[in-house]
């Protein structure tokens, strides 16, 4: 009798644990979703249609245009890995003439805030080919800068990687667009913060600067391509 009770009690606990597992992981809801939502839609929901990895847009293109090549995929979203895996085919060759630009931003820029005697940007950029212009957001109408501007990045062992370094002598007006036109790919990094240092600037002068915006040039400018397909800010171009 005691043995039978022990066995039944064990079965009860096992059933309870299995049900807890199902409940904890919402498996009934998931089972229902598998019934009613097809694989492609579920995959798109997880990896995004035209956001994050934008797998939905990529798979739509592959289905619609029946690619017999592997296009170049450029994703401007920096918090996700490359999403080429979703349409890659080993039987096809890479054709860099066909490009898919995902999460393409209208303007590429870095926003720098003051941090002690330098300016610091938390933003990152992946696909730029240089600096276009620089804008100072000032507390006053204008400020005189006779100095050197240095844009750099620090590695984790505190070495400086200089991206741009030039003399700067001019009267800067508030929100004035100051053209620079400097080609570099060193500005591209998604891992490390970027700094601007304006040497010989007094504390008083630094305090007058709210922020600095560095506008960058696109490595892939839409003006240079024919747009074949577009959805929001995802493009298939040639």
């Amino acid at each position: 009798m005691a043995k039978k009770f022990k066995k039944n009690f064990g079965v009860l606990i096992i059933s309870f644990l299995i049900l807890s597992f199902i409940y904890n992981h919402s498996l009934f809801r998931k089972l229902y979703n598998i019934f009613v939502i097809n694989f492609e839609s579920r995959l798109t929901k997880k990896h995004g249609y035209c956001f994050r990895e934008s797998v939905g847009f990529l798979r739509m293109l592959k289905k619609k245009y029946k690619f017999n090549f592997n296009p170049l995929i450029v994703n401007y979203e920096d918090a996700v890995p490359d999403s080429g895996w979703s349409i890659y085919d080993n039987h096809n060759k890479i054709d860099k003439n066909h490009k898919i630009l995902l999460n393409y931003p209208k303007n590429l820029s870095l926003y720098f805030k003051p941090l002690n005697k330098v300016f610091y940007s938390e933003g990152t950029v992946k696909h730029s080919n240089g600096i276009s212009n620089i804008i100072f957001d000032l507390k006053d109408e204008h400020i005189r800068i006779d100095s050197k501007i240095k844009i750099y990045r620090k590695t984790f062992n505190k070495k400086e990687i200089i991206i741009y370094e030039e003399n700067f002598h001019r009267l800067v007006e508030n929100k004035q667009i100051i053209p620079i036109e400097f080609k570099t790919k060193k500005i591209n990094s998604i891992f490390k913060p970027t700094f601007i240092e304006i040497s010989d600037l007094s504390n008083n002068q630094i305090e007058k600067i709210n922020s600095i915006i560095v506008n960058l040039n696109h490595e892939f400018n839409l003006k240079n391509f024919t747009i074949i397909e577009k959805f929001n800010n995802c493009y298939y171009v040639k």
């Binding site: 299995i18 998931k30 694989f39 997880k46 990895e53």
Partner: protein
């Protein structure tokens, strides 16, 4: 509905495939293999299958030929043994039934979640796709990190392609099966009744399971193969299996070979386990020779294949020169960072939180048994290895630790479940005696 049917077919297909060779070949009642349980036999078959797949991948044999050979042999053996089956004596194995239930439940989670981890999107999926699309082993050199082993992704591609050749996640269901098999395998070591074993297995799943493990990463395979190896290593300390030592060594070598080809760190774990068995057991000379020779063959095979396919370790990943420069302060700084994060991540892994105090308790409370020494030696080697890999890694060690230490710690965590098994099997009865005497 079609997807659910495909999931069920996939699970049945896995069962069908791993019913060969031991379960079907072994009908001799005097055989030593019969001392093994059904779960053990399935584990042995799995080790055999994965090794077959490994050689097929290396020799660029199309996986469909492996499947055909397997299916023909299995069907032939089923017919051949048909008369020997005693259908009246067939009993429902509830233990195995719960194992299957959990495989199906996890499969539902995989089919719903679908997403890939970062490393899967960047490395692992390309390797699986390579084999799925019948490309050769050499083609892996066209993808990033060609020095990462490929076997886990080959298993993924094999079961993705067969039987239904449709959704990629069907291949990952095999990972779920191997995971549940390994957990139900280790809990079989407990000397308690079946219900209690099942409860322990489910609790272990509760402690370890989350979808991230099945998002295409290979760590869950390392975890599972280590658990299966632990189970067979445990048999070395059981009197019942003294006559099976040579078979156990062969099984362990097969599993060690798999571990070597799933992730690079697997090589170390495999040899730590074999080394610990070697030093904590009084093996006869024949077995010692088998263990050493087998280990050397596995290592030589790895080196040979690396050289044959001109695969090189990524030099930017490790900084041997800088580390061997013995910049004392840098090393000290790294040790500080590693220790800090080790404590943090250690406290995030419930298995360690549960098993290490148990291990400390049985070490200091009771006289040391060989099996306890086995666990302690592995623990020492395991943690020394963690320190060493991060010491050798590039100077930006903190980023790497944040990226993967939690996973590295997880890989071997299942092994320490042995501490609980030792406690329950050897010392639990002492509690009862104490309670009764009071």
């Amino acid at each position: 509905m079609t997807e659910i049917i495909k999931i069920l077919i996939q699970v049945l297909f896995i069962l069908f495939i791993i019913s060969f060779p031991i379960t079907l070949l072994e009908t001799d009642k005097k055989s030593k293999i019969l001392t093994f349980s059904l779960i053990d036999k399935l584990s042995i078959n799995l080790i055999f299958l994965i090794n077959v797949l490994f050689f097929a991948s290396m020799l660029n044999i199309n996986s469909k030929y492996i499947l055909y050979s397997y299916v023909i042999l299995i069907i032939f053996l089923y017919f051949f043994n048909f008369r020997k089956f005693n259908f009246k004596s067939i009993k429902i194995d509830y233990y195995f039934l719960v194992l299957l239930s959990f495989t199906i439940l996890i499969s539902i989670d995989i089919a719903h979640e679908l997403y890939f981890a970062w490393d899967t999107q960047v490395h692992w999926f390309f390797k699986a796709l390579n084999f799925f699309q019948d490309q050769e082993f050499e083609n892996l050199n066209n993808f990033p990190v060609s020095d990462y082993p490929h076997l886990g992704t080959y298993i993924w591609s094999f079961f993705w392609k067969f039987p239904s050749n449709s959704f990629e996640y069907l291949g990952r269901i095999t990972y779920a099966f191997i995971y549940t098999l390994s957990i139900f395998s280790i809990t079989e070591c407990l000397r308690v009744n079946v219900c209690e074993k099942i409860i322990f297995a489910i609790l272990l799943i509760f402690l370890t399971y989350n979808y991230e493990l099945f998002s295409g990463l290979q760590d869950v395979l390392v975890f599972s193969i280590i658990l299966i190896m632990t189970k067979f290593a445990y048999y070395f300390f059981e009197k019942k299996f003294i006559s099976n030592h040579l078979q156990l060594i062969l099984i362990l070598l097969g599993a060690a070979n798999i571990l070597c080809w799933i992730k690079n760190e697997g090589i170390f774990y495999a040899f730590f386990l074999l080394f610990c068995i070697f030093i904590t057991n009084n093996l006869i000379l024949k077995n010692k020779i088998a263990l050493i020779t087998g280990s050397l063959i596995i290592i030589s095979l790895r080196i040979f294949i690396f050289n044959f396919y001109n695969t090189e370790l990524n030099p930017s990943y490790f900084q041997f020169e800088k580390t061997l420069n013995f910049e004392f302060l840098l090393i000290l700084e790294k040790i500080k960072i590693i220790t800090f994060y080790l404590i943090i991540y250690f406290s995030q892994n419930p298995i360690y939180l549960l098993t290490i105090p148990v291990l400390i308790y049985i070490t200091f409370k009771y006289p040391l048994k060989n099996i306890t020494k086995f666990v302690i030696y592995f623990l020492i080697l395991n943690f020394s290895f963690i320190y060493l890999i991060y010491l050798f890694k590039s100077t930006e060690v903190e980023i790497l630790i944040r990226h993967n230490m939690l996973r590295v710690i997880f890989q071997t965590s299942g092994f320490y479940f042995l501490a609980i098994i030792i406690l329950i099997n050897n010392y639990a009865h002492l509690f009862k005696i104490k309670l009764l005497s009071k």
